[in-house]
């Protein structure tokens, strides 16, 4: 069994984001790309995967504008009158990820369009870097 270096883990996903890299893993058997990266392909049930760097380009496939925030988003300033947008981005390379959606008006969610082309914008939050996307 090949062990990926660094291991495909939650930690490695966030460590790569700190380097402003979106790293997924690709199954050598079926070619499926996993982002967040996985150490085992659940389709082939096989651990022969390799790292692939993915381009931060894709489209918005679903979203919401959140007014009632959990504690960590409240602490980031998102009180009821300052909503934020969460969404799913389907990358051009295949996988879909959860991300903060930036550069849109969270107070006018009816104007946000599914299908909008998006490009990555890394977000520094406390000691972490998170995935953000904004309209391309």
């Amino acid at each position: 069994m090949e062990v990926l270096t660094p291991e495909a883990s939650v930690k490695s996903f966030y460590d790569f984001l700190k380097e402003r890299k979106i790293m997924g893993t690709k199954c050598k058997k079926c070619g499926e790309i996993y982002l967040p990266p996985r150490p085992l392909c659940p389709r082939c049930v096989d651990s022969e995967l390799e790292w692939v760097e993915l381009e931060g380009r894709g489209k918005l496939v679903a979203f919401t504008s959140i007014s009632v925030a959990p504690t960590h988003m409240l602490e980031a300033g998102h009180t009821r009158d300052n909503p934020y947008v969460f969404g799913l981005i389907e990358l051009d390379s295949g996988p879909t990820v959860s991300a903060l959606i930036l550069g849109v008006d969270a107070k006018k969610p009816e104007n946000i369009e599914i299908g909008t082309r998006m490009t990555v914008e890394f977000v520094e939050r406390d000691d972490r870097v998170l995935l953000g996307f904004k309209p391309a």
Partner: protein, 417 residues
């Protein structure tokens, strides 16, 4: 495969009042539900007959700071030293407890078991409840970028609206319908119709000497951000089930002993459970819940019935969009037609397919770990003709559909009089 080695029946079902009870903890709610369930057993039931308990509970850990809650519940109702097993599948915790009870009896291990659910949620402020429910999403990848439970269902809603043209009005219709039903349920947390809520608010504003808003109807009221603020667009407050304290208790028995307890047992003829990737971003399609489709397929096959045979159903309406998706996943309507069916009144109490006659999680309340067992309480009442003013006439076959989180777990059960 897929068959029970022997038949299983529901011989009793009860619940506590659902609501916000600042002076009660899980154990008092549980005792209340246990007594209500015991009173529902026609010929009575003695604790010595109950061989084991399966307890659904999502997170007494985070809500009450109490782990290992099973033995407490067993003790408080006098079931110690019998085995008690806690099951956790987020909001499907007691739906899967029902399945555990069914398996325990069908296998021959036990003749009579108690299946229950309990949750005490209202001790925490809303932001901490949001955190705790958020812990049932993918905390490594969804939660850090701001996902909340309403947010994830709202995300499902925007995808469903885009793919099928489901409308905001259709979402609101589900809430209005469930409140109309819940109004007739004395155990409901909010036994009020949306119209009642609207009129109550007008009265209150008038009393304060303020200008009374001129809402045309319930829909107009529901679009007013002062009356119905956005939680996660397009979901507003009245698209979301409330934060609730409550418990529900069922007694299950092997068919061969069931008649000792009642002449009108409710037979559990189908049981199914499924899973799907926890994070929405890992799923092939978020407009449907694969776990629910799988659970339904299993349950229908075991029961030898199809969606067309179901006469009354309690489905997991934690959010209005969830009920629309549920009615499609269960095969009641084609994908994309659930919203339209709600709008046309098909799922109303007097419609062709009455859904959530109890008021659903929306109006009855959603003490997450107790909700699955609570659904079975309603089906027990409906199939025995004991649902009072909300009774659907002459129903023989019912179904419960209990979803955990955004669908990572789903349990479906089918019942026959």
């Amino acid at each position: 495969m897929g068959k029970l080695a022997r038949g299983v029946a529901l011989i009793g079902a009860g619940m506590s009042k659902f609501g916000a009870f600042p002076d009660k903890t899980s154990r008092e709610l549980f005792v209340e539900a246990f007594i209500d369930a015991r009173n529902s057993v026609d010929n009575g039931i003695d604790n010595k007959d109950i061989e084991a308990m399966f307890l659904g509970n999502f997170s007494s850990d985070l809500f009450e700071g109490q782990v290992h809650t099973g033995p407490i519940m067993a003790d408080w109702v006098g079931l110690v030293p019998k085995p008690v097993t806690r099951t956790e599948g987020a909001c499907a915790s007691s739906g899967i407890a029902i399945r555990c009870g069914v398996m325990a009896i069908a296998s021959g291990l036990h003749d009579v078991v108690c299946v229950a659910g309990v949750e005490k949620m209202t001790n925490l402020p809303t932001s901490r409840v949001t955190d705790t429910l958020g812990a049932a999403s993918d905390v490594s990848y969804e939660f850090p970028v701001g996902a909340t439970f309403p947010g994830l269902y709202a995300t499902i809603a925007t995808a469903h609206m885009k793919k099928y043209g489901t409308t905001i009005r259709q979402l609101r219709t589900v809430g209005i319908k469930n409140h109309d039903n819940g109004k007739l349920n004395p155990k409901a947390q909010f036994p009020l119709s949306i119209r009642d809520l609207m009129e109550k608010r007008i009265k209150k504003l008038k009393e304060k000497g303020g200008e009374a808003p001129s809402w045309r109807d319930e829909f107009d009221f529901l679009e007013d951000p002062r009356a119905n603020p956005v939680v996660a667009w397009p979901l507003r407050l009245y698209d979301c089930s409330p934060i609730t304290d409550g418990a529900a208790v069922l007694f299950l028995a092997a068919e061969e002993v069931a008649r000792k307890y009642t002449d009108t047992p409710i037979h559990i003829i189908g049981s199914g459970q499924g899973s799907v990737q926890l994070a929405l971003h890992d799923r092939a399609d978020i407009t449907t819940i694969l776990a629910a489709r799988e659970a339904a397929k299993m349950a229908y096959r075991m029961a030898g019935v199809g969606p067309e045979d179901i006469q009354v159903a309690e489905v997991h309406d934690c959010f209005t969009i969830a009920e629309i998706v549920a009615t499609e996943d269960l095969g009641f309507f084609k994908p994309g037609e659930g919203g339209k069916a709600a709008e046309e009144g098909v799922t109303a109490r007097d419609g062709e397919k009455p859904i959530n006659t109890s008021g659903g999680l929306k109006s009855k309340g959603h003490p997450v770990g107790a909700s699955g067992a609570g659904q079975a309480v309603e089906i027990w009442k409906q199939l025995r003709g004991e649902a009072g003013k909300r009774q659907v006439p002459d129903v023989e076959i019912g179904l419960t559909h209990n979803v955990g989180g955004t669908g990572g777990t789903c349990a479906v059960h089918i019942y026959r009089r």
